[in-house]
């Protein structure tokens, strides 16, 4: 659906055909034929530009370099102010502010998403990470799927001042078919896990990393170095998408942002993100256990159901990243999906109290 889904497909670069066909192809492969969508793409300068006729479609395809990144949004959600050079080359923060202003000014934009629209995963912080790394956020809100992956110990090769060095690392060892991790397509077996929710795993044991992941399972953000480096978002020509699996030639650990902060993830959110503990008040006789359980789960599912109202914001952010990259003319994309659980719970009338954590029965 419209969650962060990524599809790759190829087109003839020189004979791309008509926009009409492309539009149909898009709708077809995404199984969204019944929806009105707006198609956009990122040009070489990192600007988000619309594709809506044969001309700009041809332009988009011919300037693709080497991938054409196409973004699809629902027609009625497209914030047209996002298009254009000015908006997108700004710093992200400014962008957020600006967009929020826009939202306030334009009350007709529906901020709650339709029910078929649910975040599943996202790549975040592309702007601050080395291009060999990928930071993936897995959402479990209202998701019945298991996280569904396994990790193992292993060795990874690092570039250090003393040359190549073998160091212990943590790797994804197995994906559970049908699990969340597999369905995102963003994680793969043999990807090296570098961070869990912004905390480096270097020096931590497998069990520690396991515990950290499980403790963060409601909102798991893992930074991996994908085993397959060819799918990376390319920012540098010398990368040319051929970096090997174990030789981390361009980016080693010390190039990770030292703050360990996840840029698109504010501490406040971290504090208030997941778990609203459930408190059941009142006297229940012990024999009511099964009933109690069903009650609990029904109230839970109500919360979960309503969590579909996650405010889903799809930002297409292109940062001018010249500060960190020498050849800063290459821009990269940032697709950020944000959920704010403070808005994710619909408060049942009279049942839930103002902080959203207590249910009184």
């Amino acid at each position: 659906q419209f969650g962060a889904e990524f599809r790759r497909f190829s087109l003839d670069r020189y004979k791309p055909g008509k926009f009409e066909d492309f539009y149909k192809l898009i709708l077809h492969i995404h199984h969204i034929a019944s929806l009105e969508v707006m198609i956009g793409y990122a040009d070489v300068h990192g600007d988000l530009l619309p594709i809506n006729n044969d001309d700009n479609f041809f332009k988009a395809v011919s300037s693709a370099h080497p991938l054409l990144r196409v973004f699809i949004q629902r027609q009625d959600e497209v914030d047209y102010s996002n298009f254009g050079t000015n908006t997108l080359s700004r710093k992200k923060k400014a962008l957020v502010t600006l967009r929020n202003d826009n939202l306030r000014r334009r009350p007709h934009i529906n901020i709650s998403m339709p029910h078929d629209f649910r975040p599943v995963s996202s790549i975040i912080d592309v702007d601050i990470l080395p291009e060999t790394h990928r930071r993936v956020r897995l959402y479990r809100h209202g998701c019945e799927k298991p996280l569904g992956f396994y990790i193992r110990d292993g060795t990874s090769v690092r570039v250090t001042p003393h040359g190549l060095e073998k160091v212990p690392g943590i790797f994804i060892s197995r994906m559970v078919p049908g699990g969340l991790a597999e369905s995102t397509g963003l994680l793969a077996v043999n990807d090296e896990v570098l961070e869990v929710n912004g905390i480096e795993v270097a020096g931590k044991t497998l069990d520690q990393v396991t515990d950290m992941m499980i403790a963060n399972s409601h909102n798991l953000i893992i930074t991996v170095k994908p085993a397959n480096q060819r799918n990376n978002i390319i920012r540098s020509s010398r990368m040319s998408g051929s970096s090997g699996q174990s030789t981390d030639s361009t980016a080693s650990h010390h190039s990770l942002p030292t703050s360990h902060m996840l840029q698109n993830f504010h501490p406040d959110e971290m504090e208030s993100d997941e778990e609203a503990d459930i408190v059941i008040e009142g006297s229940l006789e012990p024999q009511h256990i099964p009933k109690l359980h069903s009650l609990t789960s029904s109230s839970l599912s109500r919360i979960n159901g309503s969590s579909l109202s996650h405010r889903l914001q799809r930002d297409l952010v292109l940062n001018n990243n010249s500060g960190r990259e020498s050849n800063g003319n290459i821009h990269k994309l940032l697709s950020s999906l944000k959920t704010d659980p403070r808005h994710s719970l619909v408060i049942p009338r009279g049942g839930i109290e103002e902080d959203g954590t207590v249910i009184t029965l």
């Binding site: 990790i151 520690q208 403790a215 902060m261 059941i280 008040e281 006297s283 012990p286 902080d355």
Partner: protein, 960 residues
């Protein structure tokens, strides 16, 4: 998150933290794990024990303890004190020698390693040439004689360990003076024993393993006498006046030899096989002690008839017509005799026999009739039966303390009244600040009460719960009642008995109320006993109650162990804690949590199925609550018992290893096949460990769910008088936390004291909190209006605590394995939290509130949480703001049993097991620190001693 990444650096707080917290491992309590060597110095009256891990521990008077560790972590094979010095030499199994000294530093003595040395042979010589088998520190204090496997005796200078090559006593030199028809080069292989002449320091007795014994004159460098034993030699001992010596042999015989100037090749005076005529095992060590009354004491190790008693670990004492073979439950490492230290005395007059067995120290009083055992003030065998749990109670009121001691003294009447004979050194540590009790629960159903106030962990009283139950073993079966005419005259001594009759008796949880003397004890088979302290013996019926924790859950069958059968009718209990009520959980799963409220007279207990509340005043079950998730089949079937049995089988296999080790006879390193057996055992050990570590190397990443197994497992129970329903009225309450992250709160109505027996206690569920992260709840605590933890029951009534603040609003602290979370009360809403696991990847294993006092000012103290994580780190977390104060690495994270055994005290100390038999004591507080501080002075007799020794020699010379 940012908050944790950039901790606020408040300089005032940082300074205060330095005044409050400090981490020290202070002392090791209990019995050293795998002891391997024993030494004693009558001069300092200190005993030394070496272990297989290279530790060396010195003990003197109670409180006088020193510890050293060889860097190599190799087995200590031999320990020898340098005569009349504060020095000792150790021999390790890598053939290295180490010189240790007791030196005074800062007003207290310290044990330090001074030198190390490995004997080097000429290039190309086999390692056996320099493999040290016997060590003799000469009374001149200047040299060491080192007997080797090659038969050479090397002389090294002290303390430099310089080899005096010209003084080496080679087999060739020895054989020069011995008629060739009796001996050849092979007679001088392997030096078994070196003994200095008691009166003449210029003569040493050399015993070679093939039976040849030579008296060597150091002055003239020649053999003056030789003695031809027909049997393989094990050891030698001089009689006090130096006119005779005794040798013991591999065939279980011992021989007395005369030493006189007229016969250079004497025949034995007497050759005895004490446990003959059938083949006997070797006598590996022997003492010959003279007495005033003329009958000597012959004390030797081993020598039992090979076929029927070859598996016994015995030491025999023969004195006139009296003969006893002390029978030990574990292998005898070594022993020594304490006798009059005055060298001028005419007789030895031995007073005590000190035996180091593999699992305990046994001291026998040789002066009192019947040779009773002496109760050791330290080196207690904590693991007489395996420790299954422990519970610490700080600051015991004097009254209760005295009552426990008095109950314990009635159990100790069979011990000798002799004062502890190893009494060297002076304890200069300040008196312990308070009386502390450490209670250990054991696999055999006993609870041992230890005085944990000071450096010496001392057994005060032992409680057995076995009498309540009918077990296979008849408790009247007494191993000591052997008939008069039994031969050999074996007498079982010591307390080490690792073989439990019934694992269901195992104690799992203990809760002692120090004010009322009520004790609750819960065990492996779901038994919960409530006891009261009674100063007299009593016979009474123990009331029974069943608590069906499954209630309406139909169709499940418990596949674990059965409950213990109880004894019908009145049972006789000795003075001490006497059970009056037994609550039996059904199914009889292991009790996983226990709480006692002595003021309300209530006891709460939990298992993997649920929890219950029992009114022990009215002897009535108040309620039970099933916590089981209906889908949790595993818990219902009792897989815990399966887990347990796996653990048990592992333990048994280790026991087997231990047993085979026990039966393997001690040999010197590198020689004989026993060391091979040991090696094989060690390898087996390692293999077994590796096998255990072969757990799958991949870990599943999955969020917890309600469907997980063992979510209903009750991990913690807590009584609190707080605001559960509304903010105007407080009431008694019971809180329970489960493995699945659920907290239940019950509102209790306890009738006032005057109607306590008339009205029932009522309970009503008031709250149920489901933590969304679903991690096991390991601690629940209510903070009063001043954010102070609520006092213990009866603490206020005894004026030992301020009344809790009931004006301000109370807060609830829930500690899960992953998070600390503070909620408001009565309306439970999250106030703040600390997400430990998400940040650090460690999990909470143990948590306690501890009071920390400032070492600078007497009037400042604060309550914090002391936390032990699964990584073995200790963290101190502030209350009520949950800020990490400080972190110390404490236990290796691989040491799972150490982490599981850790217990914190209320004043920032703690204990954990470093081996099955030893507690390490640590302190987190700057103020409360219990560590040995002692001083060993050189006695002043040194010069006299030598003058006398000289004259003695002269006398001896004149006589001869």
């Amino acid at each position: 998150m940012r908050r944790f990444l950039r901790p606020g650096h408040d300089p005032v707080r940082e300074r205060l933290k330095r005044d409050l917290f400090q981490f020290n491992k202070t002392v090791e309590h209990g019995f050293p794990h795998q002891p391997s060597a024993l030494g004693y110095t009558p001069f300092l009256r200190l005993m030394a024990i070496g272990t297989r891990s290279g530790a060396i521990k010195l003990y003197g008077a109670p409180g006088v303890e020193f510890m050293g560790l060889h860097e190599e972590n190799n087995t200590v094979m031999q320990i020898h004190f340098i005569p009349d010095q504060c020095q000792l030499v150790t021999l390790l199994d890598d053939n290295s020698l180490h010189l240790w000294s007791l030196k005074q530093h800062g007003g207290a003595s310290e044990l330090r390693e001074e030198h190390r040395f490995t004997l080097k042979g000429p290039p190309g010589s086999p390692p056996s040439a320099t493999q040290v088998t016997a060590v003799l520190p000469h009374s001149s204090r200047e040299v060491l004689y080192l007997g080797t496997e090659s038969g050479n005796i090397f002389v090294v200078e002290l303390p430099s360990f310089r080899v005096l090559e010209d003084r080496t006593i080679s087999p060739e030199a020895v054989l020069q003076r011995i008629p060739e028809d009796n001996c050849n080069r092979r007679s001088c292989e392997l030096v078994e024993a070196l003994r200095e002449h008691p009166k003449n320091p210029d003569q040493i007795l050399i015993g070679y393993s093939r039976g040849l014994i030579v008296l060597w004159d150091l002055q003239n460098n020649k053999a003056t006498h030789h003695f031809l034993g027909s049997q393989q030699l094990e050891n030698l001992y001089w009689q006090r006046d130096g006119s005779k010596f005794i040798s013991c042999h591999y065939d279980g015989s011992y021989t007395q030899w005369p030493v006189s100037s007229d016969n250079r090749q004497p025949e034995p005076l007497e050759n005895t096989v004490p446990y003959g005529p059938f083949p006997c095992k070797a006598i590996s060590k022997i003492y010959w002690q003279t007495t005033k009354n003329g009958f000597p004491y012959i004390i030797f190790q081993g020598g039992m008839p090979r076929a029927s008693y070859g598996d016994r670990h015995s030491i025999s004492v023969i004195h006139g017509s009296q003969q006893t073979a002390f029978d030990f439950t574990s292998r005898v490492i070594d022993f020594f005799i304490i006798f009059g230290s005055d060298p001028a005395a005419e007789f030895d007059d031995p007073s005590a026999l000190v035996v180091l067995a593999e699992e305990e120290l046994v001291v026998i009083d040789l002066k009192s009739a019947g040779w009773p055992a002496v109760h050791p003030p330290y080196l207690a065998s904590l693991h007489c039966s395996a420790i299954t749990c422990s519970h610490h109670v700080s600051n015991i009121p004097l009254k209760l303390w005295e009552r426990i001691i008095s109950a314990g003294s009635k159990q100790n009447i069979h011990y000798s009244s002799m004062p502890w004979p190893i009494d060297g050194g002076t304890n200069i540590a300040p008196d312990p600040p308070q009386r502390d009790l450490l209670l250990t629960g054991h696999e055999d159903g006993t609870v041992r009460f230890w005085d944990a106030s000071g450096v010496c962990l001392h057994l005060l009283y032992k409680l057995s719960t076995v009498r309540v139950f009918l077990t296979d073993a008849d408790p009247n079966d007494n191993m000591n009642t052997l008939g008069e005419d039994e031969w050999p005259p074996l007498r079982k001594v010591g307390t080490f008995d690792p073989y439990s009759d019934d694992p269901r008796l195992g104690i799992q949880k203990i809760y002692l109320c120090k004010y009322s003397g009520y004790l609750a004890v819960a065990g492996t088979a779901g038994q919960v006993l409530v006891m009261e302290l009674n100063d007299e013996d009593a016979e009474h019926v123990v009331d029974h109650a069943e608590a069906d924790l499954l209630q309406d859950q139909e169709g499940y069958r418990w596949k674990g162990h059965e409950k213990l059968k109880t004894r019908d009718g009145p049972v006789r209990f000795e003075a001490g804690f006497q059970p009056f009520v037994l609550v039996q959980c059904q199914p009889p799963a292991v009790v996983t949590s226990l709480a006692l409220h002595s003021e309300w007279k209530l006891v709460a207990f939990g298992t993997s199925h649920g929890f219950g509340l029992f009114d022990h005043q009215q002897k009535r079950l108040v309620f039970v609550k099933c916590t089981l998730h209906p889908s949790d089949q595993l818990a219902l079937e009792g897989p815990l018992s399966r887990v347990k049995s796996l653990k048990k089988s592992l333990r048994q296999s280790f026991r087997r290893i231990r047993r085979s080790r026990v039966s393997s006879r001690k040999r010197r390193g590198g020689s004989g096949n026993a060391s091979e057996v040991q090696e094989a055992n060690a390898k087996f050990d390692q293999d077994a460990l590796q096998e255990m570590e072969l757990a799958p190397v991949q870990r599943k990443i999955e969020a917890r769910s309600a469907e997980d197994s063992f979510t209903g497992f009750v991990r913690t129970l807590y009584f609190a008088d707080t605001f559960l329903r509304d903010s105007s009225r407080h009431c008694p309450s019971l809180w329970a936390g489960t493995n699945g992250g659920t907290v239940y709160a019950f509102c209790l109505r306890v009738p006032p004291a005057e109607r306590r027996m008339d009205e029932p206690v009522r309970a009503e569920q008031a709250k149920e909190i489901q933590l969304m992260h679903r991690a096991p709840v390991v601690g629940i605590l209510v903070l009063d209006g001043h954010s102070t933890p609520l006092p213990e029951p009866l603490e206020v009534a005894h004026d030992l605590s301020k009344s809790p603040d009931m004006q301000g609003s109370h807060q609830l602290l829930v500690v899960s394995e992953e998070q600390f979370k503070v909620f408001t009360l009565p309306k439970v809403s999250s106030k703040l939290k600390l997400k430990l696991t998400a940040l650090e990847g460690c999990r909470v294993r143990k948590v306690t509130v501890a009071n920390f006092g400032s070492c600078k000012t007497d009037d400042y103290s604060e309550n914090d949480l002391a936390v032990l994580t699964n990584l073995g780190d200790i963290q101190i977390i502030s209350l009520p703001f949950l800020k990490l104060q400080i972190r110390y690495p404490c236990i290796r994270k691989e040491d799972v049993s150490g982490i599981a055994s850790c217990v914190f005290t209320k004043y920032g100390q703690g204990f954990y097991l470093i081996s099955p038999s030893e507690f390490e004591r640590f302190s987190l507080s700057t103020k409360w620190l219990v560590e040995p501080r002692c001083i060993v002075d050189m006695p002043e007799v040194t010069s006299n001693n030598h003058v006398h020794n000289k004259s003695g020699t002269e006398n001896a010379a004149r006589k001869s």
